[in-house]
């Protein structure tokens, strides 16, 4: 980490987005993570994505659990409300927040210990409930703050810094999210911002449960030979299935592509996901095929990245619950309290 404060002044011609905000308006406090930490690159990608999407910072709620990854919401979107909750329990807090006000944009940030170890249950249930959110796991396979113990996403056979191998099978959160009904699923790598930023933009514009697993090497405890979550290992084994561009509904589409090489998916909010295929025959709308593909490639030792599944017409939790359009936290007595007259009838029915 650095202890030098960020300069308050910035270039007067810093680009502004549709809301008149600069990138600086989406930044947060200075990071206290280790220099070179993959998580800081993810924070930068989140800032980039929110700026480009022209999201009003104060309408974003950023929530996290406990751990290195869960610290990062302090380091981005300083003008957004944040909630650093309890270890492994961010999904329930986010779910509750979303129930209270369906109009905010919910960004959940978690880690592999937070989501795959202590919080596996809450991760799973938030996915199957279809909570409208973007859920990012910053996945490095180890516990950083407690100095390098394996987490549940560490691959079997991967070695820790002292050379001891992990015996337990790894949990693949992407495969789980597919099985549990998440409606947007992607995997990125903190070392590949050109792939990650569009993934985050697409997830933020998705209506429904969007999950992104971002492999994010831990420079302090999991970036050595024998690790399967090191920068070198991930670069070598990264197999992207597609290249994604997110085109907001108001932008005009001009580029021409060879037929069959590009697929466009229009999301509920009108944004268009333009996918240039890298893996032949990979169909982002086929959940079952995606599951099988991931298993096959995993067996071959590859780390599959890209947009892996999307249902552009997905429903979300509020659809299932039939909740009123206006946020519940804005309803007043007149809408909520049946009043004395109704109570007199209740009394009469209880005699």
């Amino acid at each position: 980490m650095t202890y030098l404060p960020k300069p308050r002044l910035h270039h007067p011609e810093l680009p502004r987005n549709d809301l008149g905000f600069t990138r600086r308006d989406y930044e947060g406090a200075i990071s206290t993570l280790c220099a070179g930490c993959g998580h800081d690159s993810i924070s930068a990608a989140i800032i980039h994505a929110c700026f480009e999407l022209s999201l009003p910072p104060h309408r974003i709620a950023k929530l996290s659990g406990i751990g290195c990854s869960s610290k990062t919401p302090t380091y981005f979107l300083g003008n957004s409300h944040g909630f650093n909750s309890v270890h492994g329990r961010m999904p329930s807090v986010l779910t509750g927040a979303n129930l209270a006000n369906r109009d905010l944009i919910y960004l959940g940030v978690s880690g592999d210990g937070d989501s795959a170890s202590i919080g596996l249950g809450q991760f799973a249930h938030a996915m199957r409930r279809g909570v409208n959110m973007t859920y990012i796991v910053e996945n490095n396979g180890v516990y950083g703050l407690t100095k390098g113990q394996f987490s549940a996403t560490a691959d079997r056979g991967a070695k820790n810094k002292s050379g001891v191998a992990n015996n337990d099978e790894a949990i693949d959160l992407v495969s789980m999210a597919l099985q549990l009904g998440a409606t947007f699923i992607g995997r990125g790598f903190s070392g590949d911002k050109t792939q990650l930023v569009p993934l985050i933009k697409a997830a933020l514009s998705h209506r429904g449960a969007a999950f992104i697993d971002v492999v994010s090497p831990c420079v302090a405890f999991n970036n050595h030979a024998g690790s399967t979550k090191s920068f070198d290992y991930v670069r070598e084994h990264n197999e992207a299935v597609n290249f994604l561009d997110v085109i907001l509904s108001r932008a005009e589409i001009v580029t021409e592509y060879a037929p069959g090489s590009v697929r466009e998916v229009t999301q509920h909010d009108g944004s268009v996901l333009r996918l240039r295929k890298l893996a032949e025959d990979y169909d982002v709308s086929d959940r079952i095929a995606a599951c099988a593909y991931l298993q096959h490639r995993h067996a071959a030792g590859e780390i599959v990245t890209g947009l892996l599944y999307v249902d552009p017409e997905a429903e979300e939790m509020h659809d299932y619950l039939g909740t009123a359009i206006e946020p519940l936290n804005g309803l007043m007595e007149a809408e909520l309290c049946p009043g004395a007259g109704a109570l007199a009838k209740v009394n009469a029915g209880l005699r």
Partner: protein
């Protein structure tokens, strides 16, 4: 032995098999007594089982209005369960009555000679009348209600009216049920001695009171308070609270487009339910969960977060006998300490103790105002006895002018005016800071909520002084809470006395009756019903004004007594335990006996008698 004679004052108990459909017919019987204007208090005594195990339904009829369990034997046993026959026959008071199905002859050795045995061939009557086995079972229950109405002198019109009301939406069931009721009634009138010594006589003693269980009343209170988010995990004895909330919301909270002005989520566990409540309350909705002891155990970590990060949350704890799974269908007041000091680190929480269904409603409604005002979790402490049993209570009231007290919430306008907003800044000296709902203002008011220490502007810090200042402010806030929570209710004896009793929650009914019993034995005692924690100063004063104070509780370890000792710094020798904790509800006798014993040991002579 002379048969018992009593009008409007006796106990009838039904012994049934769980899952046989007896619950609704037994309730019909209780309601018929109420419709005769006579107070009746039923209690379900049920196993943790769905079908097959024994279950009992005990009704205490009391013109005087006593709603506590009477204790002792029963005056009339309706023995419908061969499994428990011997213990049921044993439980009849000498001179009492035993009503049973005499279709199959029983050897004389299985009966008692000191009670009146009333046999009726219920199964034979049913088999003659019905061919369908399920009908035989269900109508058998209605037939015995009909027979009992004749034996006890309940008017048949009253039962008919109740059946018509019960099946209003399934009209074709009305006639067959009324027919079955008369089948039983007519048989009894023709073949049995009617009425017996126990009788229901029309009265006005019920008055305008309503008949409802505490869980449903609490749920109704949540609707009136404006709660919009409920997250819960099924657990006996609290599940019916969440289910009642769903039922009331469906009726009162559906908008013109058929959309719901509420959200109810059945969570995956209690950790998730309290997490959702905290998330929703952080975001400005009124949110609650309903649970029992094991759920409270699971919520500990989150409760510490809500205390420290200062997030309102309402938790209904419908207590049952612990520890661990304990006796899940039996009542206790055993979560007082685990709620008062829930979570690791230094914590204290607000607890409310309703005495009956009426207070379940009012305290449910008040709990949301308190949680918002104090920005902290508030526990409403029910128990199985009050939560799951229908009980007579004062009718519910609501003032339409009442507004939700959302506490100190910074508005967009206030933020715009440039006011110094520090999330944990004690601007008013009462320990309560201002909060904002996320998304309120474009540029101001955003802050980071966390369970780690922070300064008054919500910035992370590990500075010991700043941490300590904040923890001390939380104590100031708890001091403020003392004035805001429901105050204790004091009731002094007719004559001056140095004896006092402190009690709370569902013990109230038994305590009221115990005071009468004690007065009859010339023991005068002043009473204080504690309605909340933190304790109001009146509680300390009450203890100071008495030489001995009995603390009446339904748990093993005298948990409220501990809380009184610790929080009010009271000499333990002054606080005498009166405890009942076998899982059955406390009775007046259980309270009165040890008090009377100690009073006589102390040779306390009432002042008026001591005077020459």
């Amino acid at each position: 032995m002379r048969p018992l004679e009593s009008v409007n004052d006796f106990v009838v108990k039904f012994a049934n098999v769980n899952g046989s459909g007896s619950a609704s017919s037994n309730q019909l019987f209780a309601r018929a007594i109420l419709r005769m204007g006579v107070p009746a208090t039923p209690r379900n005594i049920f196993p943790s089982n769905i079908q097959g195990l024994p279950t009992w339904y005990e009704i205490r009829v009391s013109e005087a209005g006593h709603t506590a369990a009477r204790g002792g034997g029963v005056d009339m046993m309706v023995a419908m369960n061969p499994q428990t026959w011997d213990q049921d026959v044993r439980s009849v008071e000498p001179g009492g009555y035993l009503f049973y199905d005499s279709t199959k002859a029983m050897p004389a050795s299985r009966f008692r000679t000191d009670i009146t045995v009333i046999g009726m061939p219920l199964t034979a009557i049913c088999n003659d009348e019905y061919t369908d086995p399920r009908q035989r079972q269900l109508f058998k229950n209605i037939i015995y209600v009909g027979a009992l109405s004749a034996l006890l002198g309940i008017e048949s019109d009253v039962v008919e009216t109740l059946l018509r009301e019960q099946f209003r939406s399934k009209e074709k069931l009305i006639a067959p049920n009324i027919h079955a009721m008369h089948l039983g009634r007519d048989f009894a009138l023709k073949n049995l001695t009617c009425p017996i010594g126990l009788r229901i006589r029309r009265s006005e003693a019920v008055g305008d009171r309503v008949f409802i269980d505490g869980n449903a009343a609490a749920a109704l209170g949540c609707v009136y308070a404006g709660a919009t988010v409920a997250a819960w995990y099924p657990i006996t004895p609290s599940s019916s609270l969440a289910e009642a909330f769903a039922k009331y919301c469906k009726k009162y909270r559906t908008d013109l487009d058929g959309k719901n002005k509420y959200a109810i989520v059945q969570a995956e566990d209690e950790l998730a339910s309290i997490g959702m409540v905290i998330g929703a309350a952080w975001n400005g909705a009124r949110a609650f969960t309903a649970t029992s002891g094991p759920g409270i155990s699971l919520m500990q970590e989150f409760l510490g977060l809500a205390y420290f990060a200062e997030i309102p949350a309402v938790i209904f704890d419908v207590q049952r006998a612990g520890p661990s799974t304990g006796m899940p269908t039996r009542t206790q007041q055993c979560d007082v300490l685990s709620c008062a000091y829930a979570s690791h680190g230094d914590t204290k929480h607000v607890l409310l103790f309703p005495e009956d269904a009426h207070e379940c409603f009012t305290m449910a409604a008040d709990s949301f105002d308190l949680a918002d005002r104090l920005q902290t979790p508030v526990f409403v402490m029910l128990d199985l006895d009050m939560g799951m049993n229908d009980r007579l209570c004062a009718p519910f009231e609501w003032d339409d002018a009442r507004r939700m007290d959302r506490g100190k919430v910074m508005t967009s306008e206030a933020l715009e005016s440039g006011v110094d907003f520090g999330r944990y800044l004690d601007v008013d000296g009462d320990g309560i800071p201002y909060r904002t709902y996320p998304g309120t203002h474009g540029k101001r008011g955003a802050f980071f909520t966390r369970g780690t220490s922070r300064d008054v502007y919500a910035k992370y810090t590990e500075d010991g002084t700043v941490y300590q200042d904040n923890m001390e402010r939380l104590l100031r806030k708890f001091e403020t809470a003392k004035q805001l929570v429901p105050h204790p209710v004091r009731r002094d004896a007719a004559t001056p006395t140095r004896l006092g009793a402190i009690y709370y929650g569902s013990t109230a009914a038994a305590m009221d009756e115990a005071v009468e019993l004690l007065a009859a034995e010339d023991v005068a005692i002043d009473c204080l019903r504690v309605r909340a924690f933190p304790f109001h100063d009146d509680v300390k004063r009450f203890v100071a004004e008495h030489d001995q104070v009995f603390v009446v509780e339904q748990n093993r370890d005298a948990q409220l007594r501990t809380l009184l000792m610790v929080e009010c710094e009271i000499d333990p020798a002054k606080l005498v335990r009166v405890l009942h904790w076998d899982g059955s509800p406390i009775t007046a006798r259980i309270i009165a006996d040890p008090i009377a014993e100690l009073a006589s040991a102390l040779k306390i002579v009432p002042l008026r008698k001591a005077a020459p």
